[in-house]
Amino acid sequence: MKQEILTVLSNDALTKSVYRMRLEGDLSSFTRPGQFCNLLVPGFYLRRPISVCDIEGDVLTLLYKVIGHGTEAMADMTPGTKLDVLCGLGNGYDTSLSGKAPLLLGGGVGIPPLYGLAKALLAEGKEVCAVLGFNTAEEIFWADEFRACGVSVTVTTADGSAGVGGFVTDAMPGSYSYFYTCGPVPMLRAVYEKTFTSGQFSFEARMGCGFGACMGCSMKTADGGYKRVCREGPIFYKEEIVWES
């Protein structure tokens, strides 16, 4: 983990509520796709944990959804704004277990970390297939970016207004070597039940610190212990997960 001052290069709306922010600075503390950063938004006490979508050189791309006052304030930020960001947080996805044809399953604002993962898997010569789920056609974002990298993409919409009608679990291919997923908890549970291989799940949580100090985000694990979403997570192996009712 490093504390960096990053400069906003651009901050644009992709849909009504999802924005893309590009930030420039020293990103050397990020080592794996699926890690996150924790942004200090001026005027708010706690930092905002946001997953990394992509890193190219010293440019960090974050895709975030405006859901409260903190992300509203982020949406108003203009190029040139300097932000205090804790970088290189969390464990990130392990690509070594993916096999030859991994499947990525993303829902809504859970999709962004799968993009950096897709690029890493493609660079390792894997054949990557992604099912990206949205509520409606108007909410679709970043599917073309996945395609442009060479990912075979299926889009689903809950209302059937584009792509396959239904959820990501309704459009899963018949065969895949492994899976990686990120999205809302009901989707993750469905993925857990409908996948037949091992896989890795990315979780989100309300965090106090984001680096393992406060124990605010601990999740129980199948071995009877617990892991902190911010520190030993946010990526959990399928075999570790305990679903709380």
Binding site: M1, Q3, L40, F44, Y45, L46, R47, G70, L86, A205, R206, M207, G208, C209, F211, G212, A213, C214, M215, G216, C217, S218, M219, K220, Y226, R231, E244
Partner: protein, 303 residues
């Protein structure tokens, strides 16, 4: 130099800054970021007899000037703390550490304190009789002078090291509880634990925290904590660890003027992992600005 030194219950500290229990783990997460031996000491994560997962998620809620937590004393339990956490801590921290304990009965407090008292690196025992997030736990002892005195006397009977009783602000009269601790033999008091609070999510109309309520900490607690330290200082003669919303070197000095011998830094560590280090580094400059030669000399100066 030497101007920052204080003595807490007979043990010298290089400076009065003590990261508070529950915001600093067992130290080694922070030791990856900076040399934690610059700290006066720190109070490690509240340790209980049995391992505890704590409360369901979510157990963090943001406030306009701070945060609410309802962790519920997550910790690996005393056996693993002694077998695993303390050896790891010893590698990165070479000063006496403050051992924070939480109990659900007087017998538990006694057992925990007696065992940690035997650990070489433990300098002080900080006895948490004030956790707002566990039912029937230490909180109930800290709610009355009688309960506080009962735990104090019991742990003092089995320990040789200084016992500092950690007090809750969620009472009618914290002064009477601090006095009861002193009368029962406590070597010090630390105050305040978090303020009982809650937030409601307007999208659902339900509490944000799964446990509904939790402990507020952060800068808005500072003036309340300061006032309580000031009142307790006027009434007792044992040292006070002043805790609550401390975020700057200025806050440390203010807390010491009110009567604190040492000063806890809590929530600030969560927002800025280097907060305690920055506060220590900033102290000499702020002391110079206000013409303070020695921190030890200003303790209780505002009385």
């Amino acid at each position: 130099m030497g101007k920052l030194n204080v003595t807490l219950c007979g043990i010298p500290l290089d400076n009065p800054v003590i990261p508070s229990s529950g915001t600093f783990g067992y130290g080694y997460e922070f030791a990856e970021l900076y040399d934690i031996n610059i700290l006066g000491t720190f109070s490690f994560k509240g340790t209980t007899k049995e391992p505890r997962y704590g409360n369901p998620l979510p157990r963090i809620a943001e406030c306009s000037a701070g945060m609410i937590n309802a962790i519920g004393l997550q910790n690996p339990g005393i056996d693993r703390v002694i077998a695993e956490e303390l050896p790891k801590l010893k590698k990165v921290f070479h000063k006496p550490v403050m051992a924070n304990v939480g109990g659900f009965s007087v017998e538990e407090y006694v057992e925990l304190c007696a065992r940690l008292d035997q650990e070489e690196q433990v300098g002080w025992l900080e006895v948490n009789i004030s956790c707002p997030n566990v039912k029937g736990g230490g909180r109930s002892y800290g709610m009355t002078p009688e309960g506080a005195a009962e735990v104090t006397a019991a742990v003092k009977a089995v320990t040789t090291k200084p016992c500092i009783m950690k007090l809750t602000p969620n009472v009618t009269d914290i002064v009477s509880i601090a006095k009861a601790c002193e009368d029962a033999g406590a070597d010090g008091v630390s105050l305040i634990n978090t303020l009982y609070g809650m937030r409601i999510d307007l999208k659902t109309g339900r509490p944000v925290i799964a446990n509904r309520m939790g402990g507020y900490s952060g800068p808005a607690a500072f003036p309340i904590a300061l006032r309580m330290v000031y009142q307790v200082r006027a009434a007792v003669n044992i040292p006070i660890v002043g805790i609550g919303g401390v975020s700057s070197a200025e806050d440390v000095i203010e807390m010491m003027y009110a009567g604190a011998t040492a000063v806890g830094v809590g929530a600030a560590n969560c927002i800025d992992p280097w907060a305690s280090k920055k506060i220590i580094e900033d102290l000499p400059r702020v002391m110079e600005r206000y013409g303070i030669d020695s921190l030890e000399n200003i303790i209780g100066g505002a009385q």
